[in-house]
């Protein structure tokens, strides 16, 4: 396999490197554009798992690293918000095996609710940051991240973006890094138990590590200098570097591979030798601010280029200091719920009953678009239940009794369960209605398994968590399971009675996603049973 020439996506390249490096556990929650990393890692033969959410994924990876195993936790950018609690605290703790956190950011929001720039997390938590620009670097930097993590016993953030994750380019699969040590538990109570008495030392230790890594990064080989015309020197990182190389083929370049801690002296010497020095970066002005904070004078981009993805055309405009309005690309056809999608009957009913719908993340967010226009809010994973309860608490009675929270099965497992607990603990005076749209899969990201499907990431059978049983166990007495596609009248009747019933109600709407049955058959599993009679 050494030096094999392969054509891989950035996600596949990360998986390939993790596999070659003997990573013992890959864990994450599916989310575009990160999902294929664990799927490919599993296909190669690695141990890959979907966790209920990113926080649990990272905590599991931390445990693996405490035990001396190499571990990788993957998530989309907003997933790191969910995992931020362990992310910040583990920075203070010595890991034994490598701990790699992959954040797949989505500038331009091809499939996300925001375009947050997760480079901020590296600086905020004090965790080294590597930014590959293509599949070869995704492969090489994963191996490098493992080496950095084990040398300084520190977690490393590998930040990808949509165009790195989902673009394919050629890689040479190199020799694997030095083999991992065998897992072994070494007690270190002072180092790993973050009570205040220990955490102070942990923070000082972290800053000392970062100083050492910053010095090492000046000659780490991760930051590449490409000589060019001295009239223009470009400092760039990630995919922006590729666009810039094409937009300004004669310029000199300093490509930043490890952006935190920054190789400040390398940047200073590069900038000093250029007549004009410009920072080209996608997203927030993060690099340019860090460079300026070090007392180095560089040119950035106009504010308009903070928004959306960069590309060759936009980099040309930045270099030409052109901030005139950009040409508007014609809008394409928007996505829509599939024909036969079980969500359709639900949203038609919610529309007909004029419900106020606190929504959530999944295909069903498309219920906000015509012909339904029956979804009134969507904030983040799991927010439907909390926002629905908040509306119920403050709205006048006539409106409060029309409020419904709608959440998918995978999203419910991710972060809906605590919302349900809140509903039982602090019930609104008017009661509340939660609808779980259980189509038996994580449909939106491409039909991944979750704790409610009874199958693992590798489509092997496992325990299946039943949402209605869980709801009954925590004290919700009104629990219904129904299939509006098969019997719309029954669903409408249950929902109408529940809205004004002043009780806490959970309605599980169960019918498999029309796309999932075929996939599960192909994978050799059994399609989820529907409560509805099968139609020919």
């Amino acid at each position: 396999m050494t030096d094999a020439r392969l054509f891989l996506s950035g996600n596949e390249a990360v998986a390939c490197a993790a596999y070659d490096a003997g990573v013992m556990l890959g864990t994450g929650y599916p989310g575009t554009p990160s999902t294929e990393i664990l799927e490919h890692f599993s296909a190669l033969g690695g141990k890959a798992q979907w966790a209920p959410n990113e926080k649990v994924a990272l905590e599991t990876a931390i445990g693996a690293a405490f035990g001396g195993g190499r571990a990788i936790a993957t998530m989309k950018h907003v997933g790191l918000n969910v995992a931020a609690d362990p992310f910040f605290s583990v920075a203070y703790i010595d890991v034994t095996g490598a701990l790699i956190v992959v954040s797949a950011d989505d500038p331009g929001m091809s499939s996300s609710q925001n375009e947050q720039d997760n480079r901020h997390y590296a600086k905020a938590a004090g965790i080294p940051l590597l930014e590959p620009a293509d599949s070869q670097e995704a492969y090489d930097f994963t191996a490098k991240a493992i080496a950095v993590s084990e040398r300084w016993r520190i977690p490393v953030l590998l930040r990808l973006t949509t165009r790195v994750c989902h673009s394919k380019s050629i890689i040479l699969r190199g020799s694997p890094p030095h083999p991992a040590a065998a897992p072994f538990f070494q007690r270190d109570i002072k180092g790993r138990v973050m009570i205040p008495a220990n955490a102070g030392g942990g923070h000082r230790k972290l800053r000392a590590k970062l100083n050492a890594i910053a010095a090492w990064n000046e000659n780490s080989g991760l930051n590449i200098r490409i000589p060019g015309d001295p009239s223009l020197g470009i400092v760039a990182s990630g995919i922006a570097y590729m666009h810039a190389r094409e937009a300004a083929p004669r310029a000199g370049f300093l490509k930043i591979g490890m952006a935190y801690p920054l190789p400040v002296e390398t940047i200073r010497s590069f900038v000093n030798q250029a007549k004009r020095a410009v920072v080209i970066e996608e997203g927030d002005p993060w690099l340019v601010e860090a460079i300026r904070a070090a007392g180095i004078s560089v040119e950035g981009k106009a504010e308009m280029y903070r928004f959306g993805e960069l590309n060759v055309d936009r980099v040309r405009r930045i270099l030409a200091r052109d901030s005139s309005p950009e040409p508007v690309r014609p809008a394409g056809k928007p996505p829509q719920l599939c024909p036969g999608c079980p969500h359709r009957a639900v949203f038609e009913t919610l529309r007909d009953l004029d419900c106020i719908v606190a929504g959530d993340i999944g295909c069903y967010t498309l219920g906000a678009l015509p012909p339904f226009e029956a979804l009134d809010s969507f904030v983040c994973m799991g927010a439907s239940i909390g926002t629905g309860l908040g509306l119920r608490h403050v709205l006048p009675a006539e409106q409060a009794q029309r409020v419904v929270s709608v959440i998918g099965d995978s999203t419910f497992m991710h972060s809906g369960i605590t919302g349900l607990v809140e509903m039982v603990y602090n019930p609104p005076a008017s009661g509340h209605v939660v609808i779980i749209l259980d189509n038996g899969t994580t449909a939106m990201t491409g039909l991944q398994e979750h704790p409610g499907t009874g199958r693992t990431l590798a489509r092997k059978p496992t325990e299946k968590i039943i949402p209605e049983d869980l709801a009954k166990a925590i004290g919700i007495r009104r629990v219904h399971v129904t299939d509006p596609t098969a019997d719309r009248g029954a669903f409408k009747k249950i929902l109408s009675a529940s809205l004004t019933g002043r009780e806490l109600v959970l309605i599980v709407v169960r019918r498999p996603c029309v796309l999932s049955a075929k996939l599960i058959r192909e994978q050799g599993g059994r399609p989820p049973a529907s409560s509805a009679s099968k139609k020919p």
């Binding site: 499939s111 165009r163 394919k168 050629i170 666009h243 690309r329 394409g332 056809k333 829509q336 491409g446």
Partner: protein, 158 residues
């Protein structure tokens, strides 16, 4: 050698991504530098989807700049206009109406027929590389019929 820029567009589920995978793989097998870019996610739900393939001696950005596509291959007539700005002035469109109905031996093989028509314009990629790429990306049950369709469209004068 000049970089060749190709954009493939259509609607989710039509085989846009499979076609761009085959095209990029054929360039890869030929030994060229190649990059392919696409967007996943929402595009699966019947929405507009497009994929960029670039090959040549050395490729940097994976995305085709506006007005620089040499070829625009479109699987759905409604998607021609919205993608036209990417095509260079004397660029070539490959569209469904250029495909002879007799070539379409299978109802879901428009993408392969269009690739066959496109392949006539790409002298850098030889026939065996195309066939190897098609075999690599299609399941065994539909491989032979698609290779026949590809070759018919490649040789057709349409």
């Amino acid at each position: 050698m000049k970089t060749t820029n190709i954009v493939i567009a259509g609607l989710g589920g039509q085989g846009v991504l499979t076609s761009s995978d085959i095209l990029a793989e054929a360039a890869f097998i030929t030994g060229l530098d190649v990059k392919k870019s696409e967007l996943h996610g929402m595009s699966q739900r019947g929405a507009s989807v497009s994929s960029d393939v670039r090959f040549g001696r050395r490729i940097f950005s994976p995305m085709v700049p506006q007005g620089q596509a040499d070829f625009l291959m479109v699987l759905e007539a409604t998607q021609v206009d919205i993608n036209r700005p990417v095509l260079r002035k004397d660029g070539i469109s490959i569209t469904p109406e250029q495909i002879d109905k007799k070539v379409l031996l299978h109802h879901r093989s428009l993408n392969i027929a269009l690739l066959g028509a496109l392949s006539r314009h790409l002298p850098d990629i030889a026939e065996p590389a195309w066939l190897q790429a098609i075999r690599a990306h299609l399941p065994a049950t539909i491989r032979d019929i698609n290779i026949r369709i590809f070759l018919l469209a490649r040789k057709s004068d349409a």
